[in-house]
């Protein structure tokens, strides 16, 4: 078996007296689309932030490609090939869509000095346009990102996350607030990207439909611990999961 792309080992995190995440461990392998779901307060976001280095866990380690990423700065994590999308406010509103995407790729080309001395787009315009085309935002390429609709900004967010060719992408509630048609498009594009690039995804989501049809494997969290793990079908019929969501516990 190949080494996991992402390896989360015994992560625990408390805030004051509240144990947000208790001893959570899981692995994600190349090409998987893993969904992390759970009712509100289950610790998904806290876990997510621990993986991304936004929060320091009280215990446990996170390894990406067998390298420990504890305490790593977001920019270094990105350089390692980890991308992410954000729940909110994820684009640069006063820059054009094209510039947003070029920016997402430029930090991976050459050195800081070469970026100062070289051409303004660092030769990325073609690639950026391709990415924008992939997400079908071509007609908006010169528009200010801030003028895009919410759903389009989410697509742009994804384009930016993928621009540098990451091996692992963490998506933070990508479906939140997006209308149905756009949602279909987003899901379809994510699946297409995953299949053509074999990129590994980890998705936190509330929208069950979205998660079930997008993900290849699902982990369910409740009250900070994993209560179920398996394929979408298995999860759908898992009693513990149903109880957790309906407050049966």
């Amino acid at each position: 078996m190949n080494a996991p792309v992402l390896s989360v080992n015994n992560i625990s995190k408390s805030f004051g007296g509240i144990k947000a995440v208790r001893d959570v461990s899981f692995n994600v392998h190349k090409g998987e689309v893993l969904g992390l779901i759970g009712p509100n307060g289950s610790g998904k976001s806290t876990l997510f932030n621990c993986v991304l280095g936004q929060l320091t866990p009280d215990a446990g380690t996170v390894h990406v490609h067998n390298k420990s990423v504890s305490g790593m700065r977001p920019s270094d994590l990105n350089k390692m090939g980890v991308g992410r999308t954000f729940q909110q406010l994820s684009v640069f509103p006063q820059m054009t869509v094209l510039d947003n995407v070029i920016l997402a790729g430029q930090e991976h080309h050459g050195t800081m000095l070469s970026r100062l001395l070289g051409p303004s787009d660092v030769g990325l315009t073609g690639e950026a346009r391709q990415m924008i085309d992939f997400f079908r935002l071509s007609h908006l390429v010169d528009e200010m990102a801030g003028s895009l609709s919410y759903g389009q900004q989410k697509l742009l967010d994804a384009a930016m996350a993928f621009m540098a060719g990451p091996t692992l992408v963490l998506l933070d509630e990508p479906a939140g607030g997006v209308n149905l048609t756009m949602l279909e498009h987003l899901k379809e594009r994510l699946i297409a990207y995953n299949q053509t690039h074999d990129t590994t995804f980890v998705v936190i989501e509330h929208n069950m439909e979205f998660v079930m049809s997008l993900c290849t494997r699902i982990i369910v969290l409740a009250e900070g611990a994993i209560i179920a793990e398996g394929s979408p079908e298995e999860i759908r019929s898992n009693q513990d999961v149903i109880d957790a969501y309906l407050g049966g516990n």
Binding site: G53, Q54, L55, T56, R73
Partner: protein, 292 residues
């Protein structure tokens, strides 16, 4: 040895007053993310308010002091919050930082223009008689200043920890969202913080100005000392501001004697640069996680 004791005591005395300014500064930061670059001028102004009341309106000294404290609470506290800080909250920290820098400048130049560019003698609260402490000649004023300043800080600590309002203020500083849900009027709590800072600055002003003469430029030094004390002590802690203030007071006095007079001012600054390089969370601070 007695010389050392003398320096230590007068250093602690000055340090306790610096601590007042540093504590107020830290409180503002904690409660409302306000970095008040005009803090030094806030410690300079009340002395001039008192002076104006005494010389132009003939107030008796004790009344002028009380009036200065009250006026500071109103203007350096409430009005400052309402007119300067509140409108800028939505714009982020940077415009606010710049605005307080400009405010400090404005206050300084206003005093220079409208009162006087020259240093003015300022009535002291306490006599400068010396008394003997373990053989060292110590000024009564120094001891009194120390006692008053520490008393104020102790009172503040008691207020924050033992009263309901104080605890609400702490809650607001630590987690405004949760505090609000629990029914705390966070706007009012933040206002109280500003009022307290106005009072602290005014008390510091009254205590320290007799030493330096009242001059428009006092804010430069006092402000710098307050910032350094707060940072050295650990930006986020009241205890830290206290420790930082005392430390700077002692170091400053030590350097006046053992290091050249010309470079005396440099010592706290070198301390600041060292602390930021070696232990940015300050002496008493805890290592902060990344902001996000």
């Amino acid at each position: 040895m007695t010389e050392l004791l003398q320096i230590l005591i007068s250093g602690l005395s000055a340090g306790a007053i610096y601590a007042l300014a540093a504590v107020g500064f830290t409180l503002l930061w904690q409660a409302s993310q306000t970095i008040n670059f005009a803090q030094g001028e806030f410690v300079m102004i009340p002395a001039f308010i008192a002076l104006a009341l005494i010389t132009k309106l003939g107030f008796p000294v004790w009344l002028a002091f009380i009036a200065a404290i009250l006026l500071s609470i109103v203007f350096l506290g409430a009005v400052f919050k309402r007119l300067v800080v509140e409108p800028m909250i939505s714009h982020g920290t940077l415009p606010l930082v710049i605005a307080t820098i400009a405010l400090g400048l404005l206050l300084k130049e206003a005093v220079k223009e409208f009162y006087s560019p020259l240093g003015q003698p300022f009535p002291g609260l306490f006599s400068h008689d010396t008394i003997s402490v373990f053989g060292a000649a110590v000024s009564f004023a120094d001891i009194a200043n120390f006692v008053v300043a520490m008393g104020v800080i102790a009172g503040l600590q008691w207020f924050l920890n033992k009263t309901r309002t104080g605890r609400c203020m702490q809650a607001t500083a630590q987690n405004p969202d949760v505090a609000q849900i629990l029914g705390v009027d966070i706007k009012r709590m933040v206002l109280y913080t500003f009022l307290i800072n106005g009072a602290l600055a005014a008390i510091a002003s009254i205590l320290i100005t007799p030493v330096y003469l009242a001059k428009f430029s006092n804010g430069e030094v006092l402000g710098l000392v307050a910032f350094i004390a707060a940072i050295v002590g650990g930006f986020n802690q009241i205890k830290g501001a206290l420790v930082g203030g005392l430390l700077i007071g002692v170091i400053d006095n030590l350097s006046a004697v053992y290091i050249s007079a010309e470079y005396r001012q440099a010592v706290p600054m070198i301390l600041l640069i060292l602390i930021i390089m070696v232990r940015p969370q300050g002496i008493m601070g805890e290592s902060e996680g990344r902001a996000v």
